[in-house]
């Protein structure tokens, strides 16, 4: 009791390791993956976990130990993660920055200050970050969002383009960037467009009307875009849309609506894995659904990708990722948002291979190559 009743030096929280029953595959080109835990707002508990396929060790809260001298650690509310070249990027939303690390060691290289930053994508030596706050225009109470262009060598912002309201995910297809605008700050007057940015001069050239409160935007191997609408959480349900170019035209348009709710998705080959969490006011509980869509035929081919009953354990699915080579499915459970989450790994047949405790609100995964 005496030992714990006095204050001691405040320690940098050390990394914890768990052994994962996963056999290393020497032929695989994947070395491991990073998982960013968002952490509840104001808690400054955004943390980074790393799993290494070679050692089979899952390292929880990896950043603070690798970078002990960073004041107040990784930050408040992680929102995205990505690897480009030798660098690892973590978008930390409420710390208004993109943290840049060496992808192999996790050692900090620098940071890029971007207000209210959301998602990151890469293209031809540049990183692009969507941000809820663009320049303050005529109406300062409802500023439009922006996409920032960052040089990945100098880590400096080189350009910025105004898009719609509160932009979320984006993708680059054939030198055009498509950005899903949510307008979440303007509820009930949500935005309903996908912004199109011409990459050659980094200008917004078009806004495609899709549905309100857009969020996820992923491209498949046929250069189609899959865009999710969150709905208005009341009467308008969440939906999934497919955008493609008509033959002979250079403009994307909505070509299909899949009548499913979609909170998040991941695409590998022809398969789009998705899940949805929808609140039901009547039963006062979340309705969770999972499914697979064939992106070529745009048809729902399965209403579940977990086959061993593990889905009953998952309280709030929050992140999804697919192993690029063996097709393992990763699903994270954020539970009540203010306690440790769980990362589940399923084989391509939907059977659970393993699970591991994560930080608070495990959400975004990126794979590291050898």
């Amino acid at each position: 009791m005496v030992a714990t009743s006095c204050r001691e030096d405040e320690l940098v929280v050390p990394t914890e390791y768990d052994i994962i029953p996963e056999r290393p595959d020497p032929s695989s080109s994947i070395r491991g993956f990073y998982l960013v835990n968002e952490g509840n707002m104001g808690s400054n508990k955004c943390t980074l976990d790393y799993f290494d396929y070679m050692t089979g060790l899952y390292a929880r809260n990896f950043y603070a130990e690798r970078n002990p001298s960073v004041i107040k650690e990784l930050g408040d509310v992680g929102n995205d993660i990505g690897i480009y070249g030798s660098k690892l990027y973590v978008v930390v939303n409420c710390s208004h920055k993109v943290e840049v690390m060496d992808a192999r060691s996790g050692v900090r290289l620098g940071q890029i200050d971007i207000p209210n930053c959301r998602y990151i994508r890469f293209h031809r030596g540049k990183a692009y970050v969507s941000s809820y706050v663009g320049p303050v225009l005529i109406d300062p109470s409802a500023p439009k969002g922006a996409v920032y262009q960052i040089d990945t060598l100098s880590l400096a912002v080189t350009a910025k383009v105004t898009v719609g309201y509160q932009p979320e995910e984006m993708e680059i297809v054939n030198d055009y960037m498509y950005v899903a605008n949510s307008g979440g700050y303007r509820a009930p007057a949500y935005d309903n467009t996908v912004s199109v940015i011409q990459m050659i001069d980094f200008k917004q050239v078009q806004q495609i009307k899709v549905d309100i409160n857009l969020h996820r935007l992923k491209k498949d191997r046929y250069d189609q875009l899959w865009v999710s609408s969150r709905g208005d959480y009341q009467t308008r349900p969440s939906r999934l849309y497919c955008l493609a170019k008509r033959k002979g035209f250079n403009q994307m348009e909505v070509v299909d609506t899949i009548p499913v709710a979609c909170s998040n998705m991941a695409i590998r080959g022809d398969s789009l894995y998705f899940y949805a969490t929808e609140w039901n006011n009547f039963t006062a509980s979340n309705t969770i659904s999972y499914g697979i869509i064939n992106v070529r035929t745009r048809e729902l081919v399965s209403t579940s990708f977990i086959t061993d009953g593990t889905e009953k354990e998952i309280t709030v699915p929050y992140g999804i990722a697919l192993h690029p080579e063996n097709g393992d499915v990763f699903v994270t459970d954020a539970k009540n948002y203010v306690s440790s989450g769980t990362l589940y790994c399923f084989d391509s047949g939907g059977r659970r291979k393993w699970r591991v405790r994560t930080g608070d609100i495990p959400a975004h995964i990126t794979f590291l190559s050898k």
Binding site: C6, V133, Y233, S340
Partner: protein, 671 residues
């Protein structure tokens, strides 16, 4: 001579007796001080017998380095304060881990309410004109009280100073100026007037201004013991500019009294916010205007006594988020409350009394927030109670019924709620020696879901049920007062063990994606605790009085909601297993020195008791020295305070750093 001193001593809560040069007079004043102390102790005992209570008043209260009522409450057993730091930081109190919403706060006989979020910010109440603060676990020992007072799980009573005039006096005035760290400037004034033999008035005004800027430090070392980082910064956007105006009328009735009060509090505050990586300053601001008028009377006719209270309150909160990086918010909330209460007590036999009370309350909330339901709430409360008082055995039983009806604009209101809250209190003196007593109580209480819980935009859940608490308490009290001139002035020790169970606890529950939440009746909390408090007052030599107070709390408050949770049976957030305080006070003639120590043990800042959520213990030492003297008819008092003497760097709430060592000086002039 005697009567003048008595009069001066009655003013004790504000200004202690002046130093008198002549030894004869000085002796007189000391023996009178003893007498007064005795009177106090007796009065306290009457309340303490049935229900565990704690009280701070007069010199004790002034000696503690406290700016607000919340600071003073840290010295009570079983209480945890949430303090977001600084002069303007929000401070709320949680009694015996049951949650802030279960704490009633009564200001001069009428409960302060906040139907919007159920929490009263005790940082807004300055100690300037407060005469005493008492805390009751369960309810007050009186059975003649408003029905609402029978309903809360724990109640804090604040009483403002009551004017008392000696023969020939018609006027008192007091002026205080307080200044110190954080650019604090806090002048206040009090005027008391004797309007007639039966009616007196007091007018109190106060202004607080502070930049809220203080240095704080974060320091980390790595497991090898090497310094990882060490940074000191200045807290920003914690400024406050507030005024308080209060006017009281007090009158005497043939065998009772009446009072009327008008109160206005106005403030502009910055919300300092959490310190997180890369964010050291935020742009949130709050303007509060809290106004209320209240009145009450009580009188006794033979065996019958009656009590009535009435109140009207208007609270306006204007919240603005001006941070360029975040969503712009500019919201105005308006709350209105009307309250009426009547109560009667009848003495059937000298040892047996019964009472009954009825309260009506109307609350309304209006906000310019999208999809806000604009609720109106009508609450009817009725109680019956009885008290038996034999010389060595006392008992009280009460039951209170609440009936709550909500009306919403533009949507269907949830069904009406009815709750019964019974309570039984027993106390006896098992020995012939009246110093010892044993007490026990069982009480059920509840809290209604607040307007935010039920109707807040997208997060509220109108299906919520009231959150319920059952408390069991057993305690032992030793209370001894020495004779005049004896070495032992007073000794008091009380030990209470309790078991509380919070059912249907209202918790935030995640709803789909993107930090969307709703409220559910999900939690079940099991609380076992022991409160110990002791007081010893000695007069070793001459005019020297030494007083020591010690308070210790053990609380094991665990979440037993669901064995599947990874925090099942873990200690709930921010409740330390061990906490306590110690205060030593020495007074010699006009000199008063006070040392106080507060300890809050290790806690967890989230539900899971893992290393990552671990929060270190904190403990601070505060020192104050005061000197009272007279210049002619003018009484003066100077007080110097040093808070956080050892300059500990600590957070009460994660990422809300507290100030390092800070100072305050006070000068009071009274005529």
């Amino acid at each position: 001579m005697l009567s003048i001193f008595r009069h001066i001593l009655w003013l004790l809560p504000v200004v202690s007796p002046p130093v008198v040069a002549q030894s004869l007079e000085a002796t007189d004043s000391v023996s009178l001080a003893h007498r007064l102390e005795n009177v106090e102790v007796t009065a306290r005992r009457r309340q303490a017998e049935v229900i565990p209570s704690q009280r701070l008043d007069g010199e004790q209260l002034r000696g503690l380095n406290s700016q607000s009522v919340a600071d003073a409450l840290r010295y009570f057993a079983g209480v945890q304060i949430k303090d977001y730091g600084g002069v303007g930081g929000i401070k709320t109190v949680n009694i015996r881990s049951m949650g802030t919403n279960h704490t009633g706060v009564v200001y001069d006989g009428v409960e302060l309410g906040n139907a919007q979020n159920g929490q009263v910010d005790l940082g807004q109440f300055s100690l300037d004109n407060i005469e005493s603060i008492s805390l009751y676990n369960g309810q007050k020992s009186e059975i003649l009280q408003p029905a609402r007072d029978f309903g809360t799980a724990g109640t804090i009573y604040m009483r403002t100073r009551m004017p008392k005039f000696a023969c020939g006096e018609t006027f008192h005035a007091r002026m205080t100026v307080r200044s110190g760290s954080f650019d604090l400037l806090n002048p206040s004034a009090l005027v008391e007037l004797k309007l007639s033999e039966r009616v007196s008035a007091s007018l109190s005004a106060e202004w607080v201004s502070s930049s809220g800027k203080y240095k704080f430090r974060y320091r980390r070392v790595n497991p090898a013991g090497e310094l990882a980082y060490d940074t000191t910064a200045v807290r920003q956007n914690g400024d406050i500019n507030a005024t308080r105006l209060e006017c009281n009328l007090n009158g005497a009735l043939p065998s009772g009294q009446w009072h009327a009060k008008v109160y206005n509090y106005n403030s502009e505050r910055g919300v300092p916010g959490a310190i997180v990586n890369n964010v050291w300053r935020r742009g949130e601001r709050i303007w509060d205007t809290n106004s209320f008028a209240q009145g009450g009377f009580n009188n006794t006719w033979g065996r019958f006594s009656a009590l009535a209270n009435v109140k009207y309150a208007f609270y306006r909160t204007h919240y603005v988020n001006n941070d360029d990086k975040q969503v712009k918010i500019d919201n105005l909330y308006r709350q209105r409350e009307t309250y009426l209460s009547v109560a009667g007590e009848y003495e059937i036999l000298p040892v047996w009394r019964i009472s009954s009370a009825y309260d009506f309350q109307w609350n309304a909330l209006d906000a310019d927030v999208y999809a806000f339901a604009r609720p109106d709430r009508f609450t009817h409360m009725a109680s019956v109670a009885t008290a038996l008082a034999f010389s060595r055995f006392k008992a009280q039983a009460s039951v209170m019924g609440s009936f709550v009806h909500d009306v919403l604009r533009g949507q269907k209101a949830p069904s009406d709620k009815q709750v019964l809250t019974p309570a039984v209190y027993l106390s006896c003196n098992p020995l012939r020696n009246a110093d010892w007593s044993v007490r026990a109580f069982v009480k059920r209480s509840f809290r209604m879901p607040t307007f935010n819980d039920l109707y807040y935009a997208d997060m509220g859940n109108s299906q919520l049920n009231p959150e319920r608490v059952t408390q069991y308490n057993v305690g032992l009290l030793y209370d001894h007062s020495g004779r005049c001139g004896a070495l032992l002035n007073a000794a008091r020790i009380s030990v209470d063990a309790y078991y509380n169970r919070v059912k249907d606890k209202i918790v935030a529950y995640p709803k789909g994606q993107q930090f969307r939440w709703t409220m559910l009746n999900l939690g079940l909390v099991d609380i076992r605790g022991v409160d110990v408090s002791a007081l010893l007052s000695l007069c070793p030599v001459g005019d020297l009085t030494l007083t020591g107070r010690v308070q210790y709390t053990f609380q094991r408050a665990i979440d037993v909601t669901d064995p599947a949770d990874n925090y099942y049976r873990d200690q709930i957030p921010y409740i330390p297993l061990h906490s306590g305080s110690a205060v030593v006070n020495a007074s010699w003639r006009g000199i008063n020195v006070n040392y106080s120590f507060i300890y809050v043990g290790e806690r967890y800042n989230q539900q899971e008791n893992i290393r990552y959520n671990y929060t270190q213990p904190w403990y601070t030492s505060d020192l104050s020295a005061g000197y009272d003297f007279s210049v002619g008819r003018v009484k003066m008092r100077c007080l110097l305070e040093v808070n956080n003497l050892l300059s500990q760097d600590y957070d009460v709430i994660l990422n809300y750093p507290m100030p390092k060592r800070n100072y305050r000086a006070t000068v009071t002039v009274e005529i």
